[in-house]
Symmetry: C2
Subunit: 298 residues, 2 copies
């Protein structure tokens, strides 16, 4: 089975009927399973997660992008989250039977189609980026809808597909490919936000810590606990266990214990298997040793 995940972000988090129309446009493609629809009122943004065969996923991404371009006007859009398009980003994620390279090709084909059929320019980002400056989405999006109106004509900011001109209402869309992202939080047994922030700075890649880890220290208001909140952007580069153990060790050095951790939303099975096999130091293991892998083939 070939399975790709797609996690498009649309610039609408407040009007349920618009969100529903966008999600339905994806759902109506045969073979598509919508796993999650996560709107945020303050961000005025919705994150949709669906999976299916590569061709179906690409078609669903196109149709939902088209629907968003019909219903969302960036000139009227305000929210806390930075954005540049009605469909802001479309990442493809290889899940089973497909490679990252397959997902890069999906991104290129979809980017070309969005520009040609919808007249929305497209940046290719992350693993699909053609130049290093477009790897990081935050860099790509700098200036947002308003700023990119003029910046898009500048050297180095021209789109990968389409004319160097924003769509008047739908702006510009970033299409890319990336590994599955895991949202992983560790709750410290303290209300010391500074400690959580200090640990976050030490463990994240930008602070010289673990590669492929983004981390912030935040407060869990309702429980009055300090939390190290992370995005594990490639669990194959850095898995959950070494990061958890580093946080535990650094908290212990400050005399603080761990209350527990949470995995927010979805993650690939392999990320948990990696934790298990590392935790008990299994020397060699084959997935076929898991009884359930034999149930599916019947």
């Amino acid at each position: 089975m070939r399975v790709v995940e797609c996690v498009p972000n649309f610039s609408e988090g407040r009007r349920p009927e618009v969100i529903e129309a966008i999600v339905n446009a994806a759902k109506e493609v045969p073979g598509i399973t919508v796993l999650d629809v996560n709107p945020d009122h303050d961000h005025n943004r919705v994150v949709v997660t669906f999976i299916g065969e590569p061709e179906a996923v690409s078609e669903a991404a196109f149709r939902s992008c088209k629907k968003a371009s019909e219903l969302i006007d960036l000139n009227q859009h305000h929210g806390e989250h930075p954005r540049m398009g009605a469909t802001d980003v479309i990442p493809f994620v290889p899940l089973a039977g497909v490679t990252m390279e397959d997902c890069v090709q999906l991104a290129e084909a979809l980017g070309e189609r969005i520009a040609r059929e919808l007249d929305i320019p497209v940046y290719l980002y992350e693993q699909a980026a053609r130049v290093p400056e477009r790897r990081n989405l935050a860099d790509v999006r700098r200036g947002e809808f308003e700023g990119l109106r003029t910046a898009i004509k500048e050297e180095g900011k021209q789109p990968d597909f389409g004319r160097p001109e924003l769509h008047p209402t739908a702006g510009i869309t970033a299409v890319g490919a990336r590994p599955p992202l895991i949202a992983f939080n560790v709750n410290l047994d303290t209300d010391d936000l500074k400690l959580a922030r200090r640990i976050a700075r030490r463990i994240r890649e930008s602070g010289g810590g673990f590669k492929a880890v983004k981390a912030l220290g935040v407060m869990l208001g309702e429980r009055n606990l300090a939390q190290v909140s992370m995005n594990m952007v490639d669990y194959r580069v850095t898995g959950l266990l070494p990061v958890y153990e580093a946080i535990k060790e650094q908290a212990a050095a400050a005399g603080v214990g761990i209350v527990g951790s949470e995995i927010v939303g979805l993650l690939p099975l392999q990320a948990l298997l990696d934790v298990a096999l590392q935790a008990i130091k299994v020397e060699s293991f084959d997935t076929s040793q898991i009884i359930e892998t034999h149930l599916r083939s019947e």
Copy 2:
């Protein structure tokens, strides 16, 4: 999907054509998947593992038991492993969509059928045992084929199904139900067999250690390493992680490290998920967070 595993042990580990005939008798039942055939020459015994829907698994167990009774004569059988029947034991294991109680009922129905159709008496053991003395298979089998010829007539040793008389060539069979068993070994960074034995004695249930853990200290000849070799007889009672950590701690107290561990053969996915979630102390988790659980429903 309802899935039961069956792991019958037959008293033949040397004649490939006999083993093949027994396995084929199970395989020919529609819906049966044979996962493993593991003959042992010294034990003169073969362990067969197959899965399927409850009814199919029961039928496959019956047919392989019948075939074994036609091809194996216990009067001619010698091997290191204790045994009392051509088909020595038939355990049913609940894997998915079935309860332990369902497996106990499977064991009862199969035991009754074996006695009635094959004239082989049957003991019910482990979770299917009707009296506490038949919970432990080693107790049930005491005396073996030769000794049970007369003992079976005694009070307390009479079979649960069938006449109190061994089948002249096929002996008597134990049919039961049990949780999945996991073979888990931890290799110490030493050739000190005594240390492995001391740790094994401390961690196993019979030594006052972890419930549902059997353990021995053995030597890994080819690598010259001492190993704590375990049967985890109910991972829901005692999981792999606490046992691994106890062994690691006790070895460290003797100044010895852990080289690594091995999981021999099959195990249920949940046993590994438990390790992962405990190792990073996840506070709450739903299996539907695993992306792959959504792939099957399509």
